[in-house]
Symmetry: C2
Amino acid sequence: MSADNTSQQINKTIRKDVEKIVDKCDIEDICAQCDAASNKTVSYCRCWKSKKFPFCDGSHNAWNKETGDNVGPLVITKKQA
Amino acid sequence: MSADNTSQQINKTIRKDVEKIVDKCDIEDICAQCDAASNKTVSYCRCWKSKKFPFCDGSHNAWNKETGDNVGPLVITKKQA
Ligand code: FES
Ligand code: FES
C-alpha cells in the first residue's frame, strides 16, 4: 500500500491494533436486545465513527454533514406481534 | 463541506442518489436467512465496497490490503440447537 492509499482508510480510530474487525453476534442475543429496547430495534454502525461501536450512536449524521457522504446504520427490528 | 472533506467519503459508489442509506431488516427474516445458509450465518457489509451490499461479499479484504485498513463485516449467527 502507498501512503496515499493509507489516508483513505474508513476506520481511523476503532481497535486499530486488530488486523480485521469482524463482530460476531448471535441472533438470539440480538432478539433479546430488540425485546429490551422500547422501539424493538437494534442499530449497528457502518460509518466507523460511533463511540458505541459496533452499535450506532448517530455519529453518521455529523460525518455525512462534514463530508457529503450518505452512510447510515443497519437497523434490525423485531416484528410486532 | 469542503472539497477536501468530500474526498473522505467512505461510500463512493452505493446508491449515491439517496441522502442516507439505512437498511432495515426484520430479525425474523435474518433468522430465515441463517437457517437457509449452510453455515447458519449472514454477514453484513461495513466497508461499503460489496457488490452485494448490504451483504458482505469479501470485498473488505482487497480494501484492507490496498489501504492498510482493518474493516470487516457484522456476522450474525444462529446458535446451533
Ligand atoms: S454511528 Fe455509525 S452508522 Fe450510525
Ligand atoms: S464486503 Fe464489505 S465488509 Fe465484507
